[in-house]
Point group: none
Chain length 222, copies 4
Amino acid sequence: MIEKKYHKEAFERADDKRKNLILEVGIEEFSSKGYENANINIIAKNAGISIGLMYKYFATKEDLFITCLKRGMSVLEKSLDEIMVSEDKLLKKAEKLIRTICQHSKKYSNYIKMYNEISSRKDAPDSISDVVEEIESKRSSIYITSISQAISKGDIRSDIDPRMLALFLDSLLTTLQFAYTCNYYKEKFKVYTDIDIEKLDEEQIVTQLLRFIESAFTYETK
Amino acid sequence: MIEKKYHKEAFERADDKRKNLILEVGIEEFSSKGYENANINIIAKNAGISIGLMYKYFATKEDLFITCLKRGMSVLEKSLDEIMVSEDKLLKKAEKLIRTICQHSKKYSNYIKMYNEISSRKDAPDSISDVVEEIESKRSSIYITSISQAISKGDIRSDIDPRMLALFLDSLLTTLQFAYTCNYYKEKFKVYTDIDIEKLDEEQIVTQLLRFIESAFTYETK
Amino acid sequence: MIEKKYHKEAFERADDKRKNLILEVGIEEFSSKGYENANINIIAKNAGISIGLMYKYFATKEDLFITCLKRGMSVLEKSLDEIMVSEDKLLKKAEKLIRTICQHSKKYSNYIKMYNEISSRKDAPDSISDVVEEIESKRSSIYITSISQAISKGDIRSDIDPRMLALFLDSLLTTLQFAYTCNYYKEKFKVYTDIDIEKLDEEQIVTQLLRFIESAFTYETK
Amino acid sequence: MIEKKYHKEAFERADDKRKNLILEVGIEEFSSKGYENANINIIAKNAGISIGLMYKYFATKEDLFITCLKRGMSVLEKSLDEIMVSEDKLLKKAEKLIRTICQHSKKYSNYIKMYNEISSRKDAPDSISDVVEEIESKRSSIYITSISQAISKGDIRSDIDPRMLALFLDSLLTTLQFAYTCNYYKEKFKVYTDIDIEKLDEEQIVTQLLRFIESAFTYETK
DNA sequence: GATGAATGAGGTTTCATTCAT
DNA sequence: GATGAATGAAACCTCATTCAT
C-alpha cells in the first residue's frame, strides 16, 4: 500500500513545531465544529501563519482535514499496536482494548470526533476510497492477524471468517468509542441503558461488553 | 414521552400529496448532499412550492431536516415492528432483522444516509437530546422488551443487562446497515473483508453475523 | 384643512371593538419594533383577524402605521386641549404641560415612540407633508393661539413672533417627552445631566424647565 | 471614557483614500435611505470594493453605520469646538452656533440625517448606551463647561443647573438643525411658522432664537 | 365580509481560494 | 518562503402583498 500524501512538499520542509501546531489547531477546529463549519482562515490565524502559507502547505481544506484526521488516527493506532502485538490471548487483548477506549475517551476525544465526522462524509466512493484505506488498513490487519492466530491456536471459534470477526469486533468497539465522545452516540447510550456513560463505572462496561465478545468469539454454533 | 413537533401547523394543513412530495424531495437532497450542503431553495423548487411557503411549513432548515429524518426512521421502524412483535424466538427475530437490513439496503438507503448524517452532528447535547429520544426510544424499547422476554423464558443468557444486550445488538445491525449504504462504511467493509458488499451473497452475511450474535446471546461466561 | 383618510371604507364599517383592537395591537408592534421591523402579518394575527381582512382595511403597511400614529396623537392631544383651553395664564399652562408630560410618559410611551419614529422617516417631502399637517396642525394652532392671546394681554414678550415662540416651546417639550420614552434621548439625558430620568423627582424637572421657559417668554431683549 | 471600535483592524490598514470613500458612500446611502433600507452591497459596489472585503472591514451593517455616523459627528464637532473654545461670551457663542447651523445645514445635511436616524433606533438601552456616550459626551461637556464658566463669571443666571441649561440649549439647536435637513422637521417648521425654512433669511432665525435663548439664560426667576 | 395559502425578490453574511508583493 | 488583501458566489430567511375561495 502506497501512502498517499494530502499535503504539499512545503509542509514537510516546515519545522516540526509549526507542523504540530497547525495540526493541533486544525484538529481542535474540525472536531469542535465539524468539517463544513470549520474555517480554514481561522485555523491559519490560530496557528500563527498566514492563510497564504496554509495554501502552500495544503491544496484544499479537504486535504488539511485528512491530514489532521490521519494525525489523530495514527496516535490512536499506537495504543492499539502495543496491545495487539503482545503475547496475550485474544480475549485479554479485547479486554485491554476496551479499557483503553474507556480511559482514552477524554484525552483523545477530538481524534474520535474527527473519525465520526469522516464516517459520514458524502464524497463519491472513488475519492473516499483512498482515505478509508489509509485509516482502516492498519487497524484491520492487526485485528485480522490476531484473530487468525487465535483461530489457528484453537483459542477461538473457527466457523466465522476471521475478517468478519474483525469487523464485528471493530463495530462494537467503535460504537463504544463514539458513545464516550460524540453527542449523538452519547445520548443514544443513555436512551438504551438509562445511564450517563460519563458517570458509569469503567468496570461495568468492561465486564458486560467482554462477556458479550467472549461468548461470541468462543462458542461455535451447533 | 411527548413527541415534539419540528414543523409548523401550516404543514399539517397541506394536502398529503404535497406533504409527501416535500419530504421525499427533502430526503433526496439531504441524503445525497448532507445537511450542510443541502439547499432549501432547491428542495422548494423541486417540490414545486415557493421558498416562502417552505418557511411557512418549517421554521428552519434544521426543522425540515429533522422532519425528513423522522419520516425516514418511521418507515424503517415499521419493518422492525412487524418482526419484533411476532411470536418468534429472539434469534429468529435477529435473523429476520439481518435479512430485512440486507434487502432494504437499497430501497431505504436514503433514510439510512440521513441517520448516518444525524449521528455526526455537532450540536450541543441539550439540543440533540430530543432528537435522539425521538429517533431511538421506540427501537430501543422494542429491542429491550424482546430481549427481556427471552431472558425470562430462559432462551438467552441472563448475565448481561438486557439494555446492554440491546445496545450491542443495535451496534452490529447499524454497522451492517451503514455498510450497505454509506460510502465510508462500504469501503471499510471492503478493507476488512476484501468483499464488495453489494456483490456479496446475502446468505453469507446472514450466516456469519447470526452465528456471532447467537453465541454472544446464548452462552453465559463461566 | 381636509382630513385625509389612511384607511379604507371597510375599516369604518367594522365594529368599534375590532377597530380599537387592531390599532392597539398595531401601536404595540410599531412602537416596540419600529416601522421597518414591525410585521403586519403579526399585527393581523395578534388582532385576531386574517391578513386578507387587514388589507381590506388598510391599503398598505404605511397606511396602517399612520392610522395607528394618528390614534396615538389624538389621545395625546386631548390632555393638551384641556390645558390650553383653560383660563390659566400661559406660564401656568406651560407648567401644566410639563407636569402632564412627566406623568404621561409611561402611560403613553407607545404613542410617543411612534411619534419619534415618524420624525425620522425618509419619505419624500411631498408624501410626508400631509402627515405632518395631520399630526402637527392642531397642536401648533393651540400653542400659537394661546401665545398670541398672552402677547396681546401683555403677559409675555412681544418681540418674538408667536409662531416662533410656539416652535421653541414645542421643541423643549418634545425633547422632554422623548427623554422619558425613547432610548436614545433617555441616554442622552443621562449624559447631559448625569441623572437617570426615571428616578428623577418630577418637581426638579418642572422647576428647572419652567424657569427657563418663564424667562425666555417674559423678558424682552434690550 | 474609552473609545469603542466599530470597525475591524483591517479597516485601519486600508489607505486613507479608500477609507474616506467607503465612509462617504456609506453616509450617502444611510442618510438617504435610512438604516433599514440601506444596502451594504450597494455601498460596497459604489465604494469599488467587494462585499467580502467590506465584511473584512466591518463585522456587521450596524458597525458600518455607527462608523459612518461617528465620522459625520466628528466633523460637526470640529466647527463646534472652534466656537466654544473661543474667548467669546456665552451668548456670542450661542449666536455663532446658530449661524453655523444655518450655514452648515446643506453641506452637512447627510451627517445630520444620520443623527436623526440614530435618535430613533429601537435598540435596547444597554446596546445603545455606548453609542450615545460616543456621540454626545464631547458636545455635552463642551456646553457644560462653557455654561459653568459663564455662571461663575456672573454672565448668566445661576438658578438653573448648568447641565440642564446645556440640555435645553442643545434641544433648541438640534431642533433647528433637523428643521434644516430632515423632512419631518422641515414640514413641521412650515406648519408652525408658515415659512419654508430654505427660503428663510438666516438673520431672521438668528435674531428670534437668540432673543429666546438670551432671555432664558440671563434672567433669574423672581 | 372573511380567510390564509402562496409568492419571490432581496438582503445580510460566510469562507474557500487566489495572487500580487 | 511568507503575507494577507481581495474576491464573489451562494445560502438562509423575511415579509408586504395578492387572490382564489
